[in-house]
Symmetry: C2
Subunit: 219 residues, 2 copies
């Protein structure tokens, strides 16, 4: 009985990793749709979100049935609660990929981004890939050191986020209010995306160490 339970718990972990992979692909496509003003790709991300939501929903149902059927002990239940929270974070990260894709769609066939900001968004897209990929690894391995290391990746994203504010607010900003707002919101989507990834890492740390979840406040 206990063994079957642990096998099923391992299956839940595998599915969380698959969900994280799907979110990584969605954000990668969303970034490309934004950089290339690619409407088809943007539409694919937007319509593809239903599949991510279904995965999260099925996972939740599965964890739920597992709890009812197997009556887990405290430590296993803690893992299940963390898994529920992690799947909710991943679902929200999928939504943020959709927001990025919608920002691309909104200005099509024009470019959403002024040329001089492309490099920053390329970098934010890369950091988004790195942090979600590393979060998936943390879910899989439960490696606390790797989980803590995500904080530094998140700080790189935060730096870009702050820098973009500086750019759109500079006196030589030549692209008007609309572009400034687009950039502000897009920067926030990437920043939130990375923030959810660090929340996932903190949930894993909580399960492994038994410490209470600490929400590290941002300045």
């Amino acid at each position: 009985m206990r063994q079957a339970y642990h096998e099923q718990l391992a299956a839940v972990t595998d599915e969380l990793v698959l969900l994280a992979d799907a979110v990584a692909i969605a954000m990668d496509k969303a970034t490309s749709s934004l950089l290339d003003a690619d409407l088809d790709l943007a539409e694919a991300v937007i319509s593809g979100d239903a599949a991510i939501d279904s995965m999260a929903q099925e996972l939740e149902e599965r964890m739920f049935e597992l709890t009812v059927r197997q009556q887990p002990v405290a430590s296993d239940l803690r893992s299940l609660v963390a898994a529920l929270r992690i799947s909710a974070s991943l679902e929200r990260m999928g939504d943020l990929a959709v927001h990025v894709a919608k920002a691309a769609r909104l200005r099509y066939p024009n470019q959403t981004l002024p040329p001089e900001l492309r490099a920053t968004i390329v970098s934010m897209g890369q950091i988004a890939q790195e942090i979600v990929t590393r979060a998936a690894e943390v879910i899989r391995t439960r490696d606390v050191a790797a989980a803590r290391a995500l904080q530094a990746v998140d700080e790189r994203m935060d730096r870009h986020h702050r820098d973009l504010f500086g750019v759109v607010l500079a006196s030589d900003w030549a692209h008007g209010v609309e572009a400034a707002i687009d950039i502000t919101l897009i920067a926030r989507y990437y920043e939130r995306f990375a923030d959810h990834a660090t929340t996932i890492a903190r949930r894993v740390i909580q399960v492994v160490t038994g410490d209470a979840y600490i929400d590290i406040p941002k300045p």
Copy 2:
């Protein structure tokens, strides 16, 4: 045993309502700090968020112990999972009140809002109060009709959100990029706040009807 369990589940519901009340107060103060450029009030909201986070954390621990000790049946467990999700939404709503307060603090001693937008923000603040108060009622009463009715309140908030975009993008916008960005982000905080409240309502509907959670996509 079953009776003690149901009493404890009722206590969880009471605490969720208290948490919602605390969030309502935080958002009310945040709105006032923004409208009055009141730094002390803004600081109170920002530092007060730790108490909201602790409430959510303690509630989570309590639900957790309840599950381990009482080995709930499927229907009770469904309520507990929903309560976990609801407490996470309320915690996020508290964070959004902090974001509004930080927007006030950032421009102090100046006003963050141009005079002609005050009325809209007053209205968004009122809708925020209405929707979180009604969400608390839905948590308490599990009234499905009342839960469904939150959708219409959310739509009023969405309308303001869209209208504000129109204002800052209009050709006669005279307050520059910085104010446009402030307004855009503030409008988004209120919109997200209301959105979380409708998510809470949908979680309650899910528990009562047994239907799967449906995330109603926004246009």
